[in-house]
């Protein structure tokens, strides 16, 4: 048994009669490098560890966490969780995962850990970040500076054990680097980002990230505001990724069972155009969010959320499935933002069923459209309950199948419900991206653009 699982198991074994106890133990090694002007701006090396304990007793739930795995701190955390459980209201839906719940579901075989990341020296990581910064400056003479260039990696190991017999360990490595390029002078400045990510150092392609950052900044030079109008919108795969994450959030059992989702009461209904099939599939090895087990120790599986435009599923953890009732069971979709909060529920690897057309063919399919390279204010301008959607956008006009003049300081607006029905083409260019979803080029028939 691993050291982390031993710690988790010891907590689970401390359950008194009538108590259900779950422990989540995490240890992460991280390196973070920022460079600027050809120098190392900062190099951080860190080990982060901690424990989160969930206690259910008399139908009441409590949670406590600590940023330490010292035996006495862990014991204190258990006692604190027990005390916290006394003050919540009883809710029959609280429950921990039980091995019987998923006896017929095998965890996917996934290889998410790369030993070789641990052998890469700090100076190699620094050199990669420096090379990335230099490559951005070299990529195009119009790039005047690099706002930031960074490298980061993490090796995370987790263990989950509960008093009903769940005992699971998971581990993963990740590495990424990213750069922000600045092109043009003063208020004519435009920015563009590029990144590369993988499971280890050797997966990274900093030259490609540098080319992206430079190209995305340079192609916006001279951008102007447009007059307000209704216009077809083509989303960059990165933006599509963020849109899918919003839709996935509204399909979480937590949002649905609490009446806080635009999809409440829409089961089986046509919620999107016929070309929209949305699944969450953490068993997909290429997905950055791939996982063998969810944050309650339940094996992950593919969940069909929207099929041919019809709402066919929700994402559930143990508690939201119980609350949903009927034949709903956990879908292995419990997620956690670390050990500091109890599990919630969410998507890890959303993707749309890709369409037939390449991005170029989508460009050529409309006389004129706005290509949205990036959006701003996603957290402040979208509401997954009402469906209201309004975000800042930068990008380029598309005419005759090619990029035309660049555009800035506009917003695009619609509702998420309408956008799902207005999708004309889903691109064939599915790309797995960090952030819980895959991206692809997407054409939405019409949105409101606000400018001057």
């Amino acid at each position: 048994m691993s050291e982390l699982l031993e710690i988790a198991q010891r907590v689970a074994d401390a359950a008194a009669p009538g108590e259900q106890v779950e422990a989540y133990v995490l240890r992460t090694h991280e390196t973070d490098v920022h460079v600027f002007g050809g120098e190392v701006e900062s190099l951080s090396v860190a080990e982060i560890e901690g424990v989160g304990v969930r206690m259910i007793v008399d139908g009441r739930q409590g949670y406590a966490w600590a940023g330490s795995l010292d035996a006495d701190v862990v014991a204190e955390t258990l006692a604190e969780a027990r005390d916290n459980a006394a003050f919540g209201a009883p809710d029959e839906h609280y429950g921990l995962a039980s091995p019987a719940d998923f006896a017929d579901v095998a965890a996917p075989a996934l290889d998410l850990w790369r030993d070789d990341l641990l052998t890469v020296s700090a100076s190699e990581k620094v050199d990669l970040a420096l090379a990335l910064e230099a490559a951005v400056l070299r990529a195009d003479a119009r790039v005047r500076g690099v706002e930031s260039a960074s490298y980061g990696d993490a090796a995370a190991e987790a263990a989950i054990a509960n008093s009903l017999g769940v005992a699971v360990t998971t581990r993963r490595t990740t590495a990424s680097c990213a750069a922000f390029a600045m092109a043009g002078e003063g208020t004519a400045t435009q920015t563009g980002s590029g990144f590369t990510a993988g499971r280890t150092f050797a997966d990274l392609d900093p030259e490609a990230a540098a080319r992206d950052a430079a190209a995305r900044a340079v192609r916006l030079l001279g951008a102007q505001q447009l007059p307000s109008q209704r216009i077809p919108v083509i989303f960059d795969p990165l933006v599509t990724r963020s849109l899918l994450a919003l839709v996935g959030g509204a399909l979480s059992g937590e949002a649905i069972t609490r009446g806080r989702s635009m999809f409440v009461g829409r089961d089986g209904e046509e919620v999107a155009g016929p070309g929209i099939t949305l699944v969450d599939d953490p068993t997909e090895p290429l997905a950055f969010g791939a996982a063998t087990h969810d944050s309650e120790g339940v094996p992950t599986r593919r969940v069909d959320l929207i099929t041919g435009g019809f709402l066919t599923g929700h994402l559930h953890n143990v508690t939201t499935a119980r609350r949903a009732g009927g034949d709903a069971g956990t879908t292995g979709s419990a997620v956690r933002g670390g050990f500091k909060s109890p599990p919630s529920v969410g998507a890890r690897a959303l993707r749309l069923l890709p369409g037939e057309l390449s991005p170029e063919e989508i460009f050529a399919s409309v006389p004129e459209a706005l290509y949205v390279q990036s959006v701003s204010g996603l957290h402040s301008g979208t509401n997954s309950v009402s469906g209201d959607f309004s975000v800042g956008a930068v990008g380029l006009m598309v005419r005759d199948g090619a990029f035309a003049e660049p555009v800035r300081e506009v917003t695009i607006a619609s509702t998420l419900q309408r956008m799902l029905h207005d999708v004309v083409h889903v691109g064939a260019d599915l790309t797995w991206l960090p952030g819980g979803a895959a991206g692809m080029t997407l054409l939405v028939g019409e949105m409101s653009l606000a400018g001057y």
Binding site: G67, S148, T187, S228, G381
Partner: protein
């Protein structure tokens, strides 16, 4: 938290291989909170985190390491890692003499959260739930949350500084969902203060709940927001986020130094309407972004950023200030000991002017009146910023008329600052969490009722 002699030895060790500056930032943080949803108080969540971050600065390079082990052995190991990361060479043993400095607190904390029974915290949530549901039967769902934190920090550095602070914050939020013929809408209100449980002497949970419920109900009868340029009146308080985004971030010295701000090189120049005097004030008693010392040990200050339209100074942290041969402005902040500090805002606000808020609306003719905002975002290099409205109304013939649905507003910082053409004689603040490079810190923003002559409103109505 840590003995003085241990701190001195840790700093000495951190500089063993050379370096210009070393620092230990230690903290002991306890948080507690509870959430109510669907009429029931869900689980209480509490947490504790202790640890130290050690940095070594050598030229333009910072090495950083952190540890949850506050023993001398743990600290020395982290110091060694930070020193190695700074790639120091040469050096040799260095003596650090620490001198403990007192801090002047902007205000005293009344009721420490750990002294308040959990049942009393739960009761606040239940009161909010009942008050929100009593507003109208269309309020179908209510969630409320309570969160407190106590963060004791210690900062010791190789300049000999040794200083401690004890920060207590409490936040309370209510979110309502209302359902009507037009679908579902939400309303949120989330005040926060640098206070203990005495926050509820100033903030009435029932009133917070009623604001959130009425906001959701109002949105049910909202018409689509306009699409295009309009005069925009921002009611006192909520609109402070406009300045936070339009110029606040662009006045952070780290971004200026990287030439990633449209305000670089503009100190002493007019950058805004003469009606604009913008302050960042970490000493503002009880406000959400307040502290006695920043996370580098510099006392919080009241800094004038823009004086009657003229840019007077940027905000500075210690490292950037040292490099420029000047003092920090007390704006070096970090989310936890696991993060490096950087330049951050505290409580950023516009000073009140002379205009009667009602006159500002009456003089507007046709425009948009914004009452609540949902946060924003800026690209400091281009100056383009957005912020979302979550409660707003049309102004027609100088009167406030129909509510409009949520929408994003977009503008360019330098342009927008020049377009401020009316500033009211009222004032209020608004609490939020500001994100920058992956770190979230509590900030507030504030302003009187004011008008921007023209902003692009991102609605869907022709």
């Amino acid at each position: 938290m840590i003995e003085e002699a241990v701190l001195a030895r840790t700093l000495g060790s951190a500089l063993r291989h050379g370096g210009d500056f070393a620092e230990v930032f230690a903290e002991d943080r306890r948080t507690a909170g509870a959430r109510l949803d669907d009429g029931k108080v869900e689980e209480f969540v509490s947490g504790r985190e202790r640890g130290a971050g050690i940095r070594v600065v050598r030229g333009d390079t910072t090495g950083f390491a952190h540890t949850a082990d506050l023993s001398e052995a743990g600290l020395l190991e982290a110091a060694e890692a930070a020193a190695a990361a700074a790639r120091g060479g040469g050096g040799g043993a260095r003596e650090v003499a620490l001198e403990r400095r007192d801090v002047r607190r902007p205000h005293e904390i009344g009721i420490l959260p750990e002294t308040v029974e959990k049942a009393r915290k739960a009761a606040v949530l239940e009161r909010a739930d009942q008050a929100a549901r009593a507003v109208d039967g269309s309020v179908r769902q209510v969630s409320a949350s309570y969160a407190d934190s106590r963060r004791r920090v210690l900062i010791a550095n190789s300049d000999g500084l040794l200083v401690e602070d004890d920060r207590v914050r409490t936040r309370f939020a209510v979110n309502c969902v209302a359902v009507g013929d037009t679908g579902m809408q939400t309303g949120t209100e989330a005040p926060g203060r640098t206070m203990g449980f005495e926050i509820f002497d100033e903030i009435d949970p029932e009133e917070v709940a009623r604001i959130a419920a009425n906001r959701a109900l109002t949105m049910l009868r909202a018409r689509p927001a306009p699409s295009g340029k309009l005069p925009v009146v921002l009611r006192r308080g909520a609109g402070g986020v406009l300045f936070h985004e339009a110029c606040g971030h662009g006045l952070e010295a780290d971004l200026v130094e990287k030439d990633a701000s449209v305000f670089r090189g503009r100190v002493g120049e007019p950058v805004a309407s003469p009606l604009v005097t913008l302050i960042d004030d970490g000493t503002y008693a009880r406000e959400w972004g307040t502290y006695a010392i920043d996370d580098e040990g510099a006392p919080a200050q009241r800094n004038v950023l823009i004086d009657h339209g003229v840019l007077t100074d940027y905000m500075w942290d210690l490292v950037r200030a040292r490099k420029n041969g000047r003092a920090s402005t007390g704006n070096g902040r970090r989310e936890t000991y696991q993060h490096l500090p950087m330049v951050r805002m505290t409580n950023t606000f516009l000073l009140a002017g002379d205009d009667d808020p009602d006159d500002i609306i009456r003089d507007t003719g046709t425009g948009l009146y914004c009452v609540a905002l949902g946060g924003g975002q800026v690209d400091t290099a281009t100056g383009d910023f957005v912020f979302g409205i979550t409660e707003a109304y049309m102004i027609e013939d100088g009167e406030i008329t129909d509510p409009v649905r949520a929408a994003q507003l977009i503008g360019n910082g330098p342009d927008t600052l020049r377009l401020v053409d009316a500033v009211g004689n009222d004032f209020d603040t608004w609490a939020g969490t500001c994100g920058k490079s992956g770190q979230g810190v509590p900030v507030s923003s504030g302003q009187p009722t004011l008008r921007v002559a023209e902003l692009t409103v991102g609605g869907t109505a022709g």
